[in-house]
Protein backbone atom coordinates (compact mmCIF):
# COMPACT_ATOMS: atom_id res chain seq x y z
CA UNK A 1 0.00 0.00 0.00
CA UNK A 2 2.81 2.36 0.98
CA UNK A 3 4.66 1.59 -2.23
CA UNK A 4 1.49 2.20 -4.26
CA UNK A 5 0.93 5.58 -2.59
CA UNK A 6 4.56 6.57 -3.15
CA UNK A 7 4.51 5.48 -6.76
CA UNK A 8 1.25 7.31 -7.54
CA UNK A 9 1.64 10.30 -5.24
CA UNK A 10 1.23 12.87 -8.05
CA UNK A 11 -1.92 11.22 -9.36
CA UNK A 12 -3.39 10.95 -5.86
CA UNK A 13 -2.57 14.61 -5.19
CA UNK A 14 -4.27 15.57 -8.47
CA UNK A 15 -7.40 13.55 -7.76
CA UNK A 16 -7.72 14.78 -4.17
CA UNK A 17 -7.07 18.49 -4.95
CA UNK A 18 -10.70 19.23 -5.93
CA UNK A 19 -11.91 17.22 -2.91
CA UNK A 20 -9.71 19.28 -0.56
CA UNK A 21 -11.05 22.52 -2.11
CA UNK A 22 -14.59 21.22 -1.63
CA UNK A 23 -13.95 20.37 2.04
CA UNK A 24 -12.37 23.78 2.74
CA UNK A 25 -15.19 25.78 1.16
CA UNK A 26 -17.88 23.61 2.72
CA UNK A 27 -16.34 24.19 6.17
CA UNK A 28 -16.03 27.95 5.50
CA UNK A 29 -19.66 28.17 4.39
CA UNK A 30 -20.86 26.32 7.48
CA UNK A 31 -18.79 28.62 9.73
CA UNK A 32 -20.18 31.65 7.93
CA UNK A 33 -23.76 30.43 8.43
CA UNK A 34 -23.17 29.71 12.13
CA UNK A 35 -21.54 33.09 12.70
CA UNK A 36 -24.46 35.11 11.34
CA UNK A 37 -27.08 36.24 13.80
CA UNK A 38 -30.32 36.27 11.78
CA UNK A 39 -32.17 39.58 11.42
CA UNK A 40 -34.89 40.29 13.95
CA UNK A 41 -37.30 41.17 11.16
CA UNK A 42 -39.19 38.92 8.77
CA UNK A 43 -39.18 39.65 5.08
CA UNK A 44 -42.11 39.82 2.66
CA UNK A 45 -41.29 38.90 -0.94
CA UNK A 46 -43.04 37.84 -4.14
CA UNK A 47 -42.19 35.15 -6.70
CA UNK A 48 -43.73 34.22 -10.05
CA UNK A 49 -44.18 37.89 -10.60
CA UNK A 50 -42.44 38.56 -13.92
CA UNK A 51 -43.94 41.28 -16.08
CA UNK A 52 -46.92 41.54 -13.72
CA UNK A 53 -48.30 45.03 -14.23
CA UNK A 54 -51.77 44.14 -13.09
CA UNK A 55 -51.27 42.80 -9.55
CA UNK A 56 -48.72 44.23 -7.13
CA UNK A 57 -48.25 44.00 -3.39
CA UNK A 58 -47.57 47.47 -2.05
CA UNK A 59 -46.89 49.01 1.35
CA UNK A 60 -49.09 51.94 2.35
CA UNK A 61 -49.16 53.45 5.83
CA UNK A 62 -47.01 50.53 7.07
CA UNK A 63 -49.57 47.95 5.89
CA UNK A 64 -49.55 45.50 2.98
CA UNK A 65 -52.13 45.94 0.21
CA UNK A 66 -52.83 44.08 -3.00
CA UNK A 67 -52.86 46.74 -5.70
CA UNK A 68 -54.83 46.07 -8.88
CA UNK A 69 -54.08 48.43 -11.74
CA UNK A 70 -56.26 48.00 -14.85
CA UNK A 71 -54.15 47.90 -17.98
CA UNK A 72 -54.89 50.01 -21.02
CA UNK A 73 -56.53 48.11 -23.87
CA UNK A 74 -53.47 48.23 -26.12
CA UNK A 75 -51.06 47.08 -23.41
CA UNK A 76 -48.89 44.12 -24.44
CA UNK A 77 -48.49 43.02 -20.80
CA UNK A 78 -50.90 40.19 -20.24
CA UNK A 79 -49.80 38.60 -16.97
CA UNK A 80 -53.01 38.36 -14.94
CA UNK A 81 -51.74 35.77 -12.46
CA UNK A 82 -51.60 36.52 -8.76
CA UNK A 83 -47.99 36.45 -7.57
CA UNK A 84 -46.89 33.98 -4.87
CA UNK A 85 -46.20 36.04 -1.76
CA UNK A 86 -44.18 34.68 1.16
CA UNK A 87 -43.39 35.90 4.67
CA UNK A 88 -40.00 34.49 5.66
CA UNK A 89 -38.91 34.52 9.31
CA UNK A 90 -35.11 34.01 9.30
CA UNK A 91 -35.01 33.27 13.05
CA UNK A 92 -37.29 30.23 12.91
CA UNK A 93 -36.75 29.44 9.22
CA UNK A 94 -40.53 29.43 8.66
CA UNK A 95 -41.53 30.52 5.16
CA UNK A 96 -45.27 31.07 5.04
CA UNK A 97 -47.21 31.59 1.81
CA UNK A 98 -49.73 34.41 2.13
CA UNK A 99 -53.25 34.07 0.74
CA UNK A 100 -54.07 37.04 -1.47
CA UNK A 101 -57.62 38.28 -1.91
CA UNK A 102 -59.02 37.06 -5.25
CA UNK A 103 -61.04 39.72 -7.04
CA UNK A 104 -62.79 39.90 -10.36
CA UNK A 105 -61.05 42.03 -12.97
CA UNK A 106 -62.37 45.52 -12.72
CA UNK A 107 -61.93 48.68 -14.71
CA UNK A 108 -61.09 50.67 -11.61
CA UNK A 109 -57.90 50.80 -9.66
CA UNK A 110 -58.17 48.99 -6.33
CA UNK A 111 -56.04 48.60 -3.21
CA UNK A 112 -57.18 45.81 -0.93
CA UNK A 113 -55.74 45.27 2.54
CA UNK A 114 -54.30 41.73 2.78
CA UNK A 115 -56.29 40.17 5.57
CA UNK A 116 -53.59 37.73 6.72
CA UNK A 117 -51.12 40.57 7.18
CA UNK A 118 -53.42 43.25 8.58
CA UNK A 119 -51.90 43.07 12.09
CA UNK A 120 -48.28 43.33 10.92
CA UNK A 121 -46.47 46.60 10.25
CA UNK A 122 -44.08 46.79 7.30
CA UNK A 123 -41.31 49.01 5.94
CA UNK A 124 -40.57 49.03 2.22
CA UNK A 125 -37.06 50.33 2.90
CA UNK A 126 -34.47 48.12 1.18
CA UNK A 127 -32.48 47.69 4.39
CA UNK A 128 -33.89 46.09 7.53
CA UNK A 129 -33.66 48.13 10.78
CA UNK A 130 -30.76 45.86 11.85
CA UNK A 131 -28.82 46.34 8.61
CA UNK A 132 -29.72 43.33 6.39
CA UNK A 133 -30.50 43.67 2.69
CA UNK A 134 -32.34 41.29 0.37
CA UNK A 135 -29.94 40.65 -2.51
CA UNK A 136 -29.01 38.12 -5.17
CA UNK A 137 -25.97 35.96 -4.43
CA UNK A 138 -25.42 35.38 -8.14
CA UNK A 139 -21.85 35.78 -9.30
CA UNK A 140 -20.99 35.62 -12.95
CA UNK A 141 -17.99 33.36 -12.66
CA UNK A 142 -18.71 30.60 -15.11
CA UNK A 143 -15.94 29.01 -17.13
CA UNK A 144 -15.35 25.85 -19.15
CA UNK A 145 -15.15 23.58 -16.11
CA UNK A 146 -18.27 24.95 -14.41
CA UNK A 147 -20.19 24.83 -17.70
CA UNK A 148 -19.11 21.24 -18.45
CA UNK A 149 -19.20 19.78 -14.96
CA UNK A 150 -21.07 22.32 -12.78
CA UNK A 151 -24.54 20.85 -13.18
CA UNK A 152 -26.52 24.06 -13.48
CA UNK A 153 -25.65 26.52 -10.70
CA UNK A 154 -28.31 25.68 -8.13
CA UNK A 155 -26.57 27.69 -5.44
CA UNK A 156 -25.85 30.79 -7.48
CA UNK A 157 -29.41 31.36 -8.63
CA UNK A 158 -30.91 32.42 -5.33
CA UNK A 159 -31.54 35.36 -3.06
CA UNK A 160 -29.99 35.90 0.35
CA UNK A 161 -30.32 38.22 3.34
CA UNK A 162 -26.91 39.85 3.55
CA UNK A 163 -25.08 41.86 6.19
CA UNK A 164 -21.35 42.32 5.77
CA UNK A 165 -19.96 38.92 4.75
CA UNK A 166 -22.74 36.96 6.42
CA UNK A 167 -25.59 35.59 4.33
CA UNK A 168 -28.80 33.68 5.01
CA UNK A 169 -30.42 31.96 2.04
CA UNK A 170 -34.06 32.79 1.31
CA UNK A 171 -36.06 29.67 0.39
CA UNK A 172 -38.18 29.49 -2.79
CA UNK A 173 -36.54 32.59 -4.23
CA UNK A 174 -35.74 31.93 -7.88
CA UNK A 175 -33.06 34.11 -9.41
CA UNK A 176 -35.00 35.84 -12.18
CA UNK A 177 -38.45 35.85 -10.70
CA UNK A 178 -38.35 37.23 -7.18
CA UNK A 179 -39.02 40.71 -5.85
CA UNK A 180 -38.47 42.24 -2.45
CA UNK A 181 -41.59 43.85 -0.95
CA UNK A 182 -40.88 44.85 2.65
CA UNK A 183 -39.38 44.11 6.06
CA UNK A 184 -41.59 43.68 9.11
CA UNK A 185 -41.17 46.31 11.80
Amino acid sequence: MKAFLKENSVLIAGITLPLILTAIFFALTQMQIKNVTPPNHSILYATNNNYNHYYKVIIKDEHAYLSIVPLPKNSHHRNYKLPDVYLFDPRSGENKQIQLPVKEQNKERQEILIDELKNIKFSAHAQSPDGFTFTSNYKRNSNLMTEMFGGGYRSRYSYVLKKGNGTIEVPNAARYNTQFIAWTL
Binding site: I15, P18, N143, G151
Partner: protein, 311 residues
Protein backbone atom coordinates in the same frame (compact mmCIF):
# COMPACT_ATOMS: atom_id res chain seq x y z
CA UNK B 1 -12.21 -35.89 -44.21
CA UNK B 2 -9.09 -36.63 -46.24
CA UNK B 3 -5.81 -37.57 -44.65
CA UNK B 4 -4.00 -34.26 -45.38
CA UNK B 5 -6.75 -32.21 -43.66
CA UNK B 6 -6.67 -34.57 -40.69
CA UNK B 7 -2.89 -34.13 -40.50
CA UNK B 8 -3.24 -30.34 -40.60
CA UNK B 9 -5.77 -30.37 -37.77
CA UNK B 10 -3.51 -32.63 -35.69
CA UNK B 11 -0.66 -30.17 -36.30
CA UNK B 12 -2.85 -27.22 -35.26
CA UNK B 13 -3.84 -29.01 -32.04
CA UNK B 14 -0.21 -29.83 -31.26
CA UNK B 15 0.88 -26.23 -31.91
CA UNK B 16 -2.02 -24.82 -29.88
CA UNK B 17 -1.13 -27.03 -26.91
CA UNK B 18 2.53 -26.18 -27.25
CA UNK B 19 1.99 -22.40 -27.28
CA UNK B 20 -1.05 -22.38 -24.97
CA UNK B 21 -3.38 -20.91 -27.61
CA UNK B 22 -7.15 -21.03 -26.93
CA UNK B 23 -9.84 -21.92 -29.47
CA UNK B 24 -11.17 -18.31 -29.22
CA UNK B 25 -7.79 -16.85 -30.18
CA UNK B 26 -7.60 -19.09 -33.24
CA UNK B 27 -11.15 -18.08 -34.19
CA UNK B 28 -10.35 -14.38 -33.75
CA UNK B 29 -7.30 -14.66 -36.01
CA UNK B 30 -9.32 -16.42 -38.72
CA UNK B 31 -12.09 -13.75 -38.53
CA UNK B 32 -9.57 -10.88 -38.63
CA UNK B 33 -7.65 -12.40 -41.55
CA UNK B 34 -10.82 -12.99 -43.54
CA UNK B 35 -11.81 -9.34 -42.95
CA UNK B 36 -8.39 -8.13 -44.12
CA UNK B 37 -8.72 -10.09 -47.32
CA UNK B 38 -12.10 -8.70 -48.19
CA UNK B 39 -12.23 -6.09 -50.94
CA UNK B 40 -14.20 -2.93 -50.16
CA UNK B 41 -13.51 -3.21 -46.43
CA UNK B 42 -14.16 0.51 -45.96
CA UNK B 43 -17.56 0.18 -47.61
CA UNK B 44 -18.51 -2.67 -45.29
CA UNK B 45 -17.45 -0.56 -42.32
CA UNK B 46 -19.27 2.53 -43.55
CA UNK B 47 -22.47 0.61 -44.19
CA UNK B 48 -22.10 -1.07 -40.81
CA UNK B 49 -21.84 2.31 -39.04
CA UNK B 50 -24.72 3.72 -41.07
CA UNK B 51 -26.84 0.68 -40.27
CA UNK B 52 -26.07 1.04 -36.57
CA UNK B 53 -26.96 4.73 -36.67
CA UNK B 54 -30.27 3.98 -38.44
CA UNK B 55 -31.18 1.29 -35.90
CA UNK B 56 -30.48 3.64 -32.98
CA UNK B 57 -32.18 6.57 -34.70
CA UNK B 58 -35.26 4.43 -35.43
CA UNK B 59 -35.41 3.07 -31.87
CA UNK B 60 -35.06 6.60 -30.47
CA UNK B 61 -37.78 7.95 -32.73
CA UNK B 62 -40.12 5.07 -31.91
CA UNK B 63 -39.54 5.59 -28.20
CA UNK B 64 -40.27 9.33 -28.53
CA UNK B 65 -43.50 8.61 -30.46
CA UNK B 66 -44.91 6.20 -27.87
CA UNK B 67 -43.40 7.93 -24.79
CA UNK B 68 -46.67 9.47 -23.57
CA UNK B 69 -48.45 6.12 -23.71
CA UNK B 70 -45.82 4.32 -21.63
CA UNK B 71 -46.06 3.66 -17.90
CA UNK B 72 -43.29 4.84 -15.57
CA UNK B 73 -41.79 1.35 -15.27
CA UNK B 74 -41.77 0.88 -19.05
CA UNK B 75 -40.10 4.25 -19.55
CA UNK B 76 -37.31 3.25 -17.17
CA UNK B 77 -37.04 -0.17 -18.78
CA UNK B 78 -36.83 1.22 -22.32
CA UNK B 79 -34.11 3.75 -21.46
CA UNK B 80 -32.05 2.02 -18.75
CA UNK B 81 -32.52 -1.53 -20.06
CA UNK B 82 -30.58 -1.20 -23.35
CA UNK B 83 -27.86 0.70 -21.44
CA UNK B 84 -27.23 -2.06 -18.94
CA UNK B 85 -27.45 -4.72 -21.67
CA UNK B 86 -24.87 -2.82 -23.74
CA UNK B 87 -22.64 -2.60 -20.64
CA UNK B 88 -22.92 -6.34 -19.93
CA UNK B 89 -22.32 -7.15 -23.61
CA UNK B 90 -19.26 -4.86 -23.47
CA UNK B 91 -17.86 -6.91 -20.57
CA UNK B 92 -18.61 -10.17 -22.40
CA UNK B 93 -16.92 -9.03 -25.61
CA UNK B 94 -13.78 -8.01 -23.70
CA UNK B 95 -13.44 -11.62 -22.63
CA UNK B 96 -13.91 -12.96 -26.15
CA UNK B 97 -11.00 -12.02 -28.40
CA UNK B 98 -13.14 -12.40 -31.55
CA UNK B 99 -15.39 -9.48 -30.59
CA UNK B 100 -12.95 -7.46 -28.48
CA UNK B 101 -13.13 -4.43 -30.79
CA UNK B 102 -16.90 -4.18 -30.31
CA UNK B 103 -16.48 -3.50 -26.57
CA UNK B 104 -15.58 0.21 -27.04
CA UNK B 105 -18.77 0.87 -29.03
CA UNK B 106 -20.86 -1.00 -26.49
CA UNK B 107 -19.36 0.88 -23.54
CA UNK B 108 -19.90 4.17 -25.40
CA UNK B 109 -23.55 3.29 -26.01
CA UNK B 110 -24.04 2.33 -22.37
CA UNK B 111 -22.35 5.58 -21.22
CA UNK B 112 -25.16 7.50 -22.97
CA UNK B 113 -28.09 5.20 -22.18
CA UNK B 114 -27.28 4.46 -18.52
CA UNK B 115 -27.39 8.10 -17.32
CA UNK B 116 -30.47 8.70 -19.49
CA UNK B 117 -32.22 5.73 -17.87
CA UNK B 118 -31.22 6.83 -14.38
CA UNK B 119 -32.52 10.36 -14.98
CA UNK B 120 -35.78 8.91 -16.31
CA UNK B 121 -36.03 6.76 -13.16
CA UNK B 122 -35.50 9.79 -10.90
CA UNK B 123 -37.94 11.86 -12.94
CA UNK B 124 -40.63 9.16 -12.71
CA UNK B 125 -40.22 8.06 -9.09
CA UNK B 126 -38.66 10.96 -7.20
CA UNK B 127 -40.30 14.30 -6.42
CA UNK B 128 -37.38 16.05 -4.73
CA UNK B 129 -37.17 18.75 -7.39
CA UNK B 130 -33.40 19.16 -7.00
CA UNK B 131 -32.11 18.27 -10.49
CA UNK B 132 -28.52 19.12 -9.59
CA UNK B 133 -28.48 16.68 -6.67
CA UNK B 134 -29.98 14.01 -8.94
CA UNK B 135 -27.24 14.62 -11.51
CA UNK B 136 -24.54 14.33 -8.83
CA UNK B 137 -25.91 10.98 -7.59
CA UNK B 138 -26.31 9.61 -11.13
CA UNK B 139 -22.80 10.60 -12.23
CA UNK B 140 -21.30 9.43 -8.93
CA UNK B 141 -22.85 5.95 -9.28
CA UNK B 142 -21.76 5.72 -12.93
CA UNK B 143 -18.20 6.83 -12.06
CA UNK B 144 -18.02 4.01 -9.50
CA UNK B 145 -19.54 1.49 -11.93
CA UNK B 146 -17.15 2.33 -14.79
CA UNK B 147 -13.99 2.76 -12.69
CA UNK B 148 -14.55 -0.46 -10.71
CA UNK B 149 -15.12 -2.36 -13.97
CA UNK B 150 -11.97 -0.71 -15.34
CA UNK B 151 -9.95 -1.93 -12.36
CA UNK B 152 -10.99 -5.48 -13.27
CA UNK B 153 -10.88 -5.37 -17.09
CA UNK B 154 -8.29 -2.63 -17.78
CA UNK B 155 -10.16 -1.32 -20.85
CA UNK B 156 -9.24 2.23 -21.92
CA UNK B 157 -12.84 3.15 -22.84
CA UNK B 158 -13.99 2.32 -19.29
CA UNK B 159 -11.32 4.60 -17.84
CA UNK B 160 -12.29 7.38 -20.26
CA UNK B 161 -15.99 7.36 -19.38
CA UNK B 162 -15.38 6.60 -15.70
CA UNK B 163 -13.16 9.67 -15.31
CA UNK B 164 -15.64 11.80 -17.24
CA UNK B 165 -18.45 10.76 -14.86
CA UNK B 166 -16.15 11.29 -11.87
CA UNK B 167 -15.48 14.89 -12.92
CA UNK B 168 -19.17 15.51 -13.56
CA UNK B 169 -20.04 14.37 -10.02
CA UNK B 170 -17.09 16.25 -8.51
CA UNK B 171 -17.87 19.50 -10.35
CA UNK B 172 -21.42 19.48 -8.97
CA UNK B 173 -20.14 18.65 -5.47
CA UNK B 174 -17.78 21.66 -5.66
CA UNK B 175 -20.60 23.85 -6.92
CA UNK B 176 -22.85 22.79 -4.05
CA UNK B 177 -20.06 23.41 -1.53
CA UNK B 178 -19.94 27.04 -2.77
CA UNK B 179 -16.43 26.76 -4.23
CA UNK B 180 -16.02 29.90 -6.41
CA UNK B 181 -16.26 29.22 -10.16
CA UNK B 182 -12.64 30.22 -10.82
CA UNK B 183 -11.37 27.79 -8.20
CA UNK B 184 -13.59 25.03 -9.59
CA UNK B 185 -11.92 25.71 -12.96
CA UNK B 186 -8.39 25.70 -11.55
CA UNK B 187 -8.94 22.73 -9.22
CA UNK B 188 -10.65 20.52 -11.79
CA UNK B 189 -8.36 21.72 -14.62
CA UNK B 190 -5.20 20.84 -12.66
CA UNK B 191 -6.68 17.54 -11.53
CA UNK B 192 -7.52 16.56 -15.12
CA UNK B 193 -4.06 17.66 -16.35
CA UNK B 194 -2.33 15.53 -13.70
CA UNK B 195 -4.56 12.58 -14.63
CA UNK B 196 -3.70 13.05 -18.34
CA UNK B 197 0.02 13.23 -17.48
CA UNK B 198 -0.17 9.94 -15.55
CA UNK B 199 -2.34 8.17 -18.12
CA UNK B 200 0.07 9.23 -20.86
CA UNK B 201 2.71 6.98 -19.30
CA UNK B 202 0.48 3.89 -19.43
CA UNK B 203 -0.94 1.73 -22.23
CA UNK B 204 -4.15 3.82 -21.97
CA UNK B 205 -2.38 6.88 -23.43
CA UNK B 206 -4.90 7.12 -26.30
CA UNK B 207 -7.23 9.14 -24.05
CA UNK B 208 -4.61 11.54 -22.69
CA UNK B 209 -4.83 14.14 -25.55
CA UNK B 210 -8.56 14.62 -24.87
CA UNK B 211 -7.94 15.17 -21.16
CA UNK B 212 -4.91 17.40 -21.82
CA UNK B 213 -7.19 19.50 -24.02
CA UNK B 214 -10.07 19.74 -21.52
CA UNK B 215 -7.80 20.18 -18.49
CA UNK B 216 -5.54 22.74 -20.20
CA UNK B 217 -8.48 24.77 -21.51
CA UNK B 218 -10.28 24.65 -18.17
CA UNK B 219 -7.21 25.67 -16.18
CA UNK B 220 -6.13 28.52 -18.48
CA UNK B 221 -9.69 29.86 -18.84
CA UNK B 222 -10.15 30.00 -15.05
CA UNK B 223 -6.70 31.57 -14.55
CA UNK B 224 -7.61 34.29 -17.04
CA UNK B 225 -10.90 34.93 -15.22
CA UNK B 226 -9.00 35.51 -11.96
CA UNK B 227 -6.18 37.60 -13.40
CA UNK B 228 -8.48 39.70 -15.60
CA UNK B 229 -10.26 41.00 -12.51
CA UNK B 230 -7.04 42.25 -10.87
CA UNK B 231 -6.55 45.68 -12.40
CA UNK B 232 -3.07 46.26 -13.83
CA UNK B 233 -1.92 42.75 -12.98
CA UNK B 234 -3.42 41.04 -16.02
CA UNK B 235 0.11 40.92 -17.45
CA UNK B 236 0.64 38.00 -15.04
CA UNK B 237 -1.30 35.80 -17.45
CA UNK B 238 1.66 35.95 -19.85
CA UNK B 239 4.06 33.93 -17.62
CA UNK B 240 1.23 31.47 -16.89
CA UNK B 241 0.72 30.66 -20.59
CA UNK B 242 4.46 30.55 -21.25
CA UNK B 243 4.85 28.18 -18.30
CA UNK B 244 2.14 25.98 -19.77
CA UNK B 245 3.95 25.95 -23.14
CA UNK B 246 7.15 24.88 -21.42
CA UNK B 247 5.25 22.29 -19.38
CA UNK B 248 3.76 20.86 -22.60
CA UNK B 249 7.30 20.19 -23.88
CA UNK B 250 8.26 18.67 -20.53
CA UNK B 251 5.26 16.31 -20.52
CA UNK B 252 5.58 15.86 -24.30
CA UNK B 253 2.03 16.77 -25.22
CA UNK B 254 1.30 18.47 -28.53
CA UNK B 255 -2.33 18.96 -27.46
CA UNK B 256 -1.31 20.97 -24.41
CA UNK B 257 1.13 22.95 -26.55
CA UNK B 258 -1.70 23.79 -28.96
CA UNK B 259 -4.03 24.87 -26.16
CA UNK B 260 -1.42 27.02 -24.40
CA UNK B 261 -0.26 28.60 -27.69
CA UNK B 262 -3.80 29.58 -28.66
CA UNK B 263 -4.36 30.84 -25.15
CA UNK B 264 -1.25 33.04 -25.43
CA UNK B 265 -2.34 34.35 -28.84
CA UNK B 266 -5.81 35.12 -27.51
CA UNK B 267 -4.34 36.88 -24.51
CA UNK B 268 -2.13 39.06 -26.73
CA UNK B 269 -5.23 40.04 -28.68
CA UNK B 270 -6.95 41.00 -25.43
CA UNK B 271 -3.88 42.88 -24.17
CA UNK B 272 -3.32 44.98 -27.31
CA UNK B 273 -7.01 45.82 -27.47
CA UNK B 274 -7.06 46.75 -23.77
CA UNK B 275 -3.92 48.92 -23.62
CA UNK B 276 -2.71 49.83 -27.11
CA UNK B 277 -5.81 50.25 -29.25
CA UNK B 278 -6.24 53.93 -28.36
CA UNK B 279 -2.59 54.88 -27.90
CA UNK B 280 -1.09 54.95 -31.38
CA UNK B 281 -4.08 53.74 -33.25
CA UNK B 282 -5.60 50.34 -33.82
CA UNK B 283 -3.82 49.63 -37.14
CA UNK B 284 -0.37 49.96 -35.51
CA UNK B 285 -1.52 47.73 -32.66
CA UNK B 286 -2.65 45.16 -35.22
CA UNK B 287 0.76 45.24 -36.93
CA UNK B 288 2.48 44.68 -33.57
CA UNK B 289 0.08 41.85 -32.81
CA UNK B 290 0.78 40.32 -36.22
CA UNK B 291 4.55 40.25 -35.56
CA UNK B 292 3.93 38.75 -32.13
CA UNK B 293 1.69 36.05 -33.59
CA UNK B 294 4.29 35.12 -36.21
CA UNK B 295 7.03 35.00 -33.54
CA UNK B 296 4.96 32.87 -31.18
CA UNK B 297 3.78 30.46 -33.86
CA UNK B 298 7.40 29.96 -35.01
CA UNK B 299 8.42 29.30 -31.42
CA UNK B 300 5.49 26.91 -30.97
CA UNK B 301 6.52 24.96 -34.07
CA UNK B 302 10.09 24.72 -32.70
CA UNK B 303 8.75 23.47 -29.38
CA UNK B 304 6.48 21.02 -31.20
CA UNK B 305 9.49 19.56 -33.00
CA UNK B 306 11.03 18.76 -29.62
CA UNK B 307 8.07 16.54 -28.81
CA UNK B 308 8.49 13.07 -30.31
CA UNK B 309 5.55 11.60 -32.20
CA UNK B 310 3.76 8.93 -30.24
CA UNK B 311 2.71 5.58 -31.59
Amino acid sequence: MDASKQDALTQIITLAKEHDISIDEIGAQIVNKSLENKDGKWLTKLLGYLGGAFIFGGLGLLTAMIWDDLTSATRVLISYGPGIIAFILGIMTVKDTRYEKASTGLFMTSSVLLPTGMFVFLNEYSDGGDAQLAAMVVFGILALQFLLTFSALKRTSLLFFGFLFWNSALGILMERAYVPGELVGIGLGLSILIFAFNVDKTKHRAISPFYYFIGGMGFLWAMFDIIEDISGLDILYLPVTIFMMMASVRVQSRTLLLVSTFSLLGYLGYFTNEYFADVTGWPVALIILGFLLIGISAQAVKLGQKIPKKA
